[in-house]
């Protein structure tokens, strides 16, 4: 075994770094941390860990303004999902996540794998998923490809959720031309765990085995830039980066197997392999625990032949998890994963070096100190420009050209308000036998917790055109609407997750929208005692060089002490209608 991996030639390395999205000064930091040129595999690790997606480098300074604490918050942002105490020793675990870009490339699989990813974030923490929701923004139906995108996304969400047997109980849909080339697919999962049995990602215990479970690793989703790399000589068709395909069947087995293993005391830490799968999971687990980690990549279950270390570390193959087990518990875990017909492999162990060391085919492929990989990660306070205030309209000065009846008909028939039945008619909202209010039946969906009187009320909300006009008010409004929707069902609103979908953060007006939306959300969260416990940021959503509408989607969760308190929408004859609040 050599002491340093095969290094890239300096010029080549700098050129590849740029192709992988690292800015020149970011690459200089890579050189400073390593004290030498990187290997291809190391460069891949830096580029994904320091990508906007993994590092939140443009958004982190703003997200810090969101309130994240309350007596009932068990776990705020920073883990795979947020956790709140809902009484009776139970916890609700939830998060929302975007899969915008993949859903435009391949709508069915993009949306399906989005659902798969968010489910894993939740059951990783020890929770059984009990509900899925979504927040969708499409372009106009007559825009090129948009009908196929809409159809594919809806089928994909249903195809995955129905198969894993988690009811899809709510969501929202908007249409606007600014999403024509960049639809938004945000998926939310809510799970239930015992409050004293929450699993996290922080690794501990020198020598403890690192275990890989789930599906095999293929070349799925490895970023396109690698195609240009001269490292690869085989025919291009074979090496093409491929779209990730979801396998909800395997995910279902993974849920059952993980929950079965979690009922034992074998697990030290667990993390799903999301974007940049093996890289982010191993780096984060070791990093959070202040440990080192050493992996033997030959032991990674592989679907294809001839995979390189770089490819394995960057693969986005779905339905995979990484775990740290207590010493000697491998056989317990292996028996469970074998029973569920899933791959199981011990691929490495924890060390006390504080470094990630990767070996493949008897060669050292990467050796990076973990602390600076995180502490030196780029962090930007990008310039912001305030959205100009618009003059307030004088309602009295606006003529009514059509009369209330025609106006009502136009509204009811409009894309944003017409019935969504054709969507939820494709989603199994009843599986589990606990759905007390399905889509269309109440302002928030209501799902009872098995073997309990309690129920959760859940909703997703955002009105992007408000956010465009005034991002701060729009951010406030989205949080307030989620709160109202929960209240209206008889639930006590407890906490939110969010999905911040915005355009290019390098444009001051976009960063200004982002900052203002966060400010508004924070104000509403504080006023309503409705903290943020998890979330996701999706930037660079551009359509024809123009940003999408600023879309801070909010996923709200509340609790009902007794499902019998649930209130729905259906009016019954003889009741009085009461209007509350100023009109």
């Amino acid at each position: 075994m050599t002491q340093t991996p095969a290094l890239l030639a300096p010029e080549r390395a700098r050129q590849l770094a740029a192709e992988y999205g690292l800015k020149p000064d970011e690459y200089d930091r890579v050189l400073a941390i390593l004290g030498r040129a990187p290997s291809l595999c190391e460069l891949g690790i830096f580029s994904v860990m320091w990508s906007e997606h993994c590092s939140y480098k443009s958004s982190r300074v703003w997200l810090k303004e969101l309130p994240t604490k309350a007596p009932w918050v068990i776990q705020g942002p920073g883990e795979n999902a947020g956790v709140i105490d809902i009484g009776d020793g139970l916890a609700a675990v939830f998060k929302m996540e975007s899969h915008n870009h993949p859903s435009f490339i391949e709508p069915y699989q993009g949306a399906a794998t989005g659902v798969g990813g968010i489910l894993r974030d939740v059951f990783t923490m020890g929770a059984r998923p009990i509900a899925n929701l979504n927040a969708l923004r499409f372009g106009m139906p007559d825009a090129p490809r948009m009908k196929q995108v809409i159809d594919g996304v809806v089928r994909g969400i249903g195809g995955y959720g129905n198969c894993v047997g988690v009811p899809t109980v709510g969501g929202e849909v908007n249409f606007h031309p600014r999403y024509n080339g960049n639809p938004l697919v945000n998926a939310m999962t809510v799970g239930i765990a015992r409050a004293d049995r929450i699993f996290t990602a922080a690794a501990s215990g020198v020598g403890n085995p690192v275990v890989y479970v789930g599906s095999k690793t293929g070349r799925d989703g490895i970023h396109g830039a690698t195609m240009a790399s001269t490292e690869f000589t085989a025919d291009s068709e074979e090496k093409r980066p491929t779209v990730q395909i979801g396998d909800p069947f395997t995910e279902k087995l993974l849920i059952e197997a993980c929950l079965e293993l979690m009922a034992t005391d074998a697990i030290v830490a667990i993390q799903d392999m999301g974007a940049a799968g093996l890289t982010s999971s191993s780096v984060e687990m070791a990093g959070k625990g202040g440990m080192g980690i050493e992996l033997e990549l030959d032991r990674v279950p592989q679907r294809e032949t001839g995979m390189t270390a770089y490819e394995m570390m960057l693969s986005e193959s779905q339905e995979r998890m990484l775990m740290i087990l207590k010493p000697g518990r491998e056989h317990v875990a292996e028996a469970i994963f074998t029973k569920w017909e899933l791959d199981f492999a011990v691929i490495g162990h924890l060390t006390d070096t504080g470094r990630i060391v990767l070996k493949h085919k008897g060669r050292l492929e990467a050796d990076i100190e973990l602390a600076p990989l995180e502490s030196e990660a780029p962090l930007y306070r990008r310039p912001t420009a305030e959205t100009p205030r618009q003059a307030v309209l004088d309602a009295a000065a606006i003529a009514d050209p059509v009369g209330p009846e025609a106006a009502l008909l136009t509204l009811v028939g409009s894309l944003d308000l017409c019935s969504r039945r054709w969507i939820w008619d494709q989603y199994d909202s009843m599986v589990g036998g606990q759905t007390a209010r399905r889509p269309g039946a109440a302002d928030a969906a209501i799902v009872r917790i098995e073997e309990s009187r309690r129920a959760l009320a859940m909703t997703t909300d955002c009105t992007p055109r408000y956010c465009l006009a005034d991002p701060e008010e729009g951010g406030k409004q989205a949080v307030a609407e989620a709160w109202r929707n929960i209240t209206a069902t008889g639930g006590l609103p407890l906490a939110i997750t969010d999905n911040m979908n915005f355009g290019n953060p390098e444009k001051p007006e976009i960063m200004g929208q982002f900052a203002a939306a966060v400010r508004g959300m924070a104000a509403a969260c504080i006023a309503l005692d409705f903290p943020v416990v998890s979330g996701n940021v999706s930037l660079y959503n551009e359509t024809e060089g123009r940003g999408i509408l600023p879309t801070p989607a909010i996923g709200g969760v509340g609790v009902l002490d007794d499902v019998a308190q649930a209130v729905g929408l259906g009016l019954k004859p003889g009741l009085d209608l009461v209007l509350v609040g100023e009109t």
Partner: protein, 234 residues
Amino acid sequence: MRAGIVLFPGTNRERDMALALQRVTGHRPEMLWHRDTALPAGTDLVVLPGGFSYGDYLRCGAMAAQSPIMQAIKAFADQGGHVLGVCNGFQMLTEAGLLPGALLRNATLRFLSMDCRMRVERTDTPYTNRFQRGQVFRSTMAHGDGNYFADDATLERLEGEGLVALRYATPAGEATAAANRNGSARNIAGILSPNLRVLGLMPHPENQVDPEIDGTDGLPLFESLAATLATAAA
């Protein structure tokens, strides 16, 4: 009643079914594993629950129908045992040859998750004796492949022998095309074996057993079973 619910890889409505059975019997049924080669002694009801066994890959229920436990279930049915297959379970029963015909892709080519209504065609069976003859009850369906197909000779035989248990119908009890969302032959929602002890149906009456969740329209089916099997055991 001693009931067993079979778990296949990908099954997902086993807990719904367990709750429904618990409601009528007061105790939890046993979960059985697809690799088992024998049923627990004293079993008098086997349920093949809904879900996506083997991901619905190839054909719904096809791989599950080849599972080790299916041999034991066939033998159990041959000896007069009661077998209930719901949704994916119905698909398994046809794939395993325990019931005739097949479930094709829905005529709409879409997954259908919605309310449906079924007319009870006969009430002298272990599954329907607590319904009124011709009674229409509401249930939910959630399937992509529920379009019942059999050749004409088979359909004639089923009709002639009175083995059609449930038909999709309007609230007024008419078996119209509009009430038949998945396109099933002759609006068939559920069929029986000649000895009336094997029932396969596509909708999910196990989701309509609780007034706090979605009403109790499906409860008579389970009450019928409980009554039948309580008498049988006595």
